[in-house]
Symmetry: C3
Subunit: 344 residues, 3 copies
């Protein structure tokens, strides 16, 4: 099942300059240290330049300014990391699903585009429209009245509730849940919670990837919206009525509360939390495990939290955190005392 390509073919695919043997057969991609003579590697980080001398890679993708430092076969291109990314697709394994498996259950008035594959025990609700070339994995359940674009792939055991819209060329990973109810309740006078049925939809753009066991809730009245090119990692929660722009990336274990707006190209590291009803501007970066508690209007990097330390040391400092305001007031008193005595 191994796919192989000539080095010339890879150069052409990337638009890279080939220096070396165009007929070299490449069977895979590997890191500089582990690559063998039938694999291509890449140098994307100057830190690893020292490995060029040792590498046994058949060829290396390298930037023009470093190309002279490597004598072997090479593909010279401005952004080797991006070139590597483009090559990975050539060596990836396509889905083996084809056609409609006899155990799949397909509802009434469903429109399936050409080449749609539906895996074993998948379920498609009534009145769904599934675009050309889309793949629906085993055990995946798609609710009534969903619309899915072309060449989108649902892995196994994904769930879409009813009335969810997904664009073209998306990839939704296993156990992800799209369109569950937003978390909305009104408190009655006896402190019990009255459910606010969630009447909005989820609308997902094109080229969106959503990680395993991540959730995107449907809107309360309006829709939850995920823009084109957004990439969401595993175990990320997107609450009702969130609106994401384009090309946002969100790492694992992050939670976005209700009615948050996130601007184009922003990136959230892992474990981040965003409180509800705020906005994050375009081109913002949030570092890991930070809590975003207010609107961010300016691009840039933002953080919260404290730094790891041995627990014994941490405990002493954490106790002092609870005295911080009083410590600050004591500093002010000291300053005033020195001023009073003309000692400052």
């Amino acid at each position: 099942m191994t796919r192989t390509y000539s080095l010339a073919h890879l150069a052409q695919h990337l638009g890279a300059e080939l220096v070396g043997d165009p007929d070299l057969v490449i069977e895979g991609i590997a890191n500089l240290l582990t690559a063998d003579s039938r694999q291509i590697s890449f140098l994307s980080n100057a830190t690893y330049q020292k490995y060029l001398a040792e590498t046994r890679a058949g060829a290396v993708i390298i930037a023009p300014d470093l190309a002279e430092t490597f004598a072997g076969n090479k593909l010279v291109i401005a952004n080797p990391y991006l070139a590597y990314a483009k090559l990975t697709k050539l060596f990836s394994r396509p889905s083996s699903l084809q056609g409609i498996h006899p155990s799949a259950v397909i509802g009434e008035q469903v429109e399936l585009g050409e080449g749609v594959a539906v895996g074993p025990n998948a379920v498609i609700g009534n009145r769904c429209v599934i675009g050309e070339g889309t793949i629906i994995g085993p055990g995946t359940v798609i609710g009534d009245d969903c619309k899915v674009g072309k060449f989108t792939r649902f892995a196994a055991n994904v769930t879409l509730y009813e009335d969810v819209i997904v664009g073209d060329e998306c990839l939704i990973h296993s156990s992800a849940v799209i369109g569950a109810d937003g978390f909305g309740f009104a408190r009655a006078s006896d402190k019990s919670w009255v459910k606010i049925y969630q009447l909005g939809r989820v609308v997902i753009g094109n080229r969106v990837e959503i990680g395993a066991t991540s959730t995107v809730d449907r809107g309360a009245l309006d829709d939850t919206i995920i823009g084109d090119g957004v990439k969401i990692d595993n175990i990320v929660h997107t609450a009702h009525n969130v609106r994401m722009g384009k090309n946002i990336a969100i790492a694992a274990m992050t939670g976005i509360s209700g009615s948050v707006d996130i601007g184009d190209n922003s990136t959230l590291s892992g474990g981040v939390g965003v409180v509800g009803h705020i906005s994050i501007a375009n081109d913002v970066h949030i570092t890991g495990m930070s809590m975003v508690s207010a609107t961010i209007t300016e691009p840039g990097s933002y953080s919260s939290g404290t730094v790891l330390a041995p627990t014994r040391e941490w405990r002493k400092n954490a106790v002092r955190f609870r005295q911080l305001d009083s410590l600050a007031n004591r500093i002010r008193s000291l300053e005033k005392a020195l001023q009073k005595h003309d000692l400052s």
Copy 2:
């Protein structure tokens, strides 16, 4: 499939005072700014009072003290937000599942109440008892010896392990897992872990909602207990032997460690962590991403963490956090020096 109601019907349903056209046909609910003449809206927050003048809503739910400020059709009632919550149910879409789908697999000695619906590829274990009107979504798996009450709904791809008890009118969302093993191991002398098989059950009360991909583990010896009216958001972990009272609400990405007791009506925001073997009193609120590291005996709001800042600024302060105890000692030394010289 749109449901419509006269304004008079909605007023009667809510017990609200109707001012305006009782025959107005209402087709849906929307926010003040987006509603059209066939939709009803609501004013629950004084901030949005400014939108009353612009709204094209066919009718507005409004509190008595503000009713004079709106000239159009209105339903006047003390708690418009609660009234809105009650109306959402009227406009929600009922499940399209009916009867037992032929692809469902139902075990031996199972008792299904009247009107139970079992979706495609759902699996029900042996000796389960499922109450009247309960709906079991496609791909949902219910283990042996489970007991489920009336009018409860399992969305698609839910999993219940064996011996789980779920009450009436619950809603369990997709990829939620109820009754998996609590995380219990004893360390052997060679540092390997010996599994503590989890022999308790999960017992869930009535009107409980559990979010998508959330987990509630079974107890080690005794049961894990979720009280009536508890609402749990997506991606929330409830460990073994947690005992929750009534009407608790827990937002997404929160983790509750083992043997924690949580009192009635308490609310945990998103991303909260609760360490094991502690209690949280009734009517406590924990703000987002806080860690509850000790028992809380008094009602009120509690927090931990630090506030977001530009990363460059944050880094300077985070370094100082590791010096906090020493800074506090230096303040004390300064105070002593001033005292010694009678300068304080």
Copy 3:
């Protein structure tokens, strides 16, 4: 279905000294306070010694130095908690799954070992090899070319992507996802993300437990590796190219970023985050909700974060955190002023 054992049998099973009635029939395990005369209990924590006088347990597992304090039937052994763990297996319920359910879908060229059980609506891909005695729960989907060892158990609705290796005697809980794509993208010049197809595998050792809705991503080029005896709780994310040693335990809601190495026997509490491309030594413990932001080379316990406080008090101190660097500089200025005037 209740299993019963004589006290003599339990003593022999544990290698414990039996003091009392060898023929006593034991039907279960319970805590000291709830046990009845047909149940065995254990004393593993001196805090609970006070309950010995009250317990109605038929027998108690107890350490030699405390054995004298209890007059009833007892099993005397050095580590009662470990002994309790070993007994739980005797009272646990085996899976009721047997044979290949007719609704299961099994691919081509699949090798199933003796006694393999495949539940209803489970799906096994092409060319998989499943070892003797392994149990595959209802709705579980195993991708093409997976290899699973002996006596491993997949609960319901688990997903394995293709090319995943799982060892012997593992337990993978429901909605867990093993082998989804690592979160890898290269940014193009227009700020869109180009997917790095993930060409590595996941390789899981023996006696590994992975909790409900946890995810272990496949490697980018090399494999993601989970060592023997690792125990992972629910809702834990393990990113691509993580390498875990042996006997690591990771509590719920924790996220491990890409290319992290974790040493043998280390333990991570709940809600921890580990940034990418760092190492954690053997025998390290991370306390709850800490962020590990740099390599840890020494064994020991590490922490970050702040301590819970009433929100009103917390808010004052959190404001001061943003002034910490400036407060430290003011302390330095005060010290200099006192030095200048010979007052320190």
